[in-house]
Symmetry: C2
């Protein structure tokens, strides 16, 4: 399978990775969450070529994750800001950071800590069930096809069979 | 900057992405969390070449995310199982899935739903502060350098200055 076909798969993880499943894209998003907005600032932080950075920014704007906004009229200058859809990626970035802080930080410990503005404390975020509120790990969870998806699959299989018979 | 140098950066997000910041690697992990263990099963699910899959599995074993275990003696056959370090990546996979379910599912809705074994309900996991327990989004959080890291940075800067003077 070629990578450009992956976005067409039903799996929403595969579809999401067709948008953000690129290391530089995820580092652009990390910087956006830390407040970076301007092309030159992204470039200084990431140390990548203008061409590569422009490509990643254009893609994120195209997917509605960032929006390009003019902050100066003459000469025209633009900045890149997270949309609501972009803000929703915070969980992805912060869980990557959390794993890295635990497993990749080395003896000096992590370079960054996160503070919950609401309570004022340094916090490691955790995943909880939105029904009962308990903290969960992989072992507490199970996945199953949704009813609608099972119906769709059955329907398209029988559609295909009808066509094969026709 | 070349990608292989990114793992050396202090940022634990960058370091984590040097392990998992590859689309196929993340899809291998998705399948591992869904219970896939054998080479042929990963290959059938992902539709990638044996060479590419072997490369991703070897890398994940090398980083201690998967372990390679013999399940048959003659001829020797191996399966790939998540380690504890690998299980800790569940949050990354499930937040990617959550974003995809919200933004990429299309009109049919997501193909998979997740059930919390503890309470038996279908759940969308959410991130909560481990201090006060409140649900958080990007806007509730702020990031700052850790004290130890500030000290380290200051020390290495003055070390460098001493060397420059020497």
């Amino acid at each position: 399978m070629r990578w450009r076909d992956v976005g067409k798969l039903d799996c929403t993880i595969a579809r999401t990775l067709s948008v953000i499943g690129d290391r530089w894209t995820l580092l652009v998003l990390r910087d956006a969450f830390l407040g970076t907005r301007r092309f030159d600032a992204f470039q200084a932080s990431l140390g990548i070529t203008r061409h590569r950075l422009a490509d990643r920014l254009r893609k994120l704007v195209g997917h509605g994750v960032l929006r390009r906004e003019r902050y100066q009229a003459s000469p025209p200058r633009f900045e890149y800001r997270l949309t609501e859809k972009g803000h929703d990626l915070y969980g992805v970035i912060v869980t990557i950071a959390g794993w890295g802080d635990k497993h990749m930080a080395g003896k000096e410990g992590p370079p960054v800590e996160r503070v919950h503005r609401g309570c004022g404390h340094v916090t490691a975020l955790r995943l909880t069930c939105d029904h009962c509120g308990d903290a969960v790990t992989a072992r507490d969870m199970t996945a199953r096809p949704t009813k609608r998806y099972r119906d769709t699959t059955t329907r398209s299989t029988s559609d295909r069979r009808s066509k094969e018979r026709a």
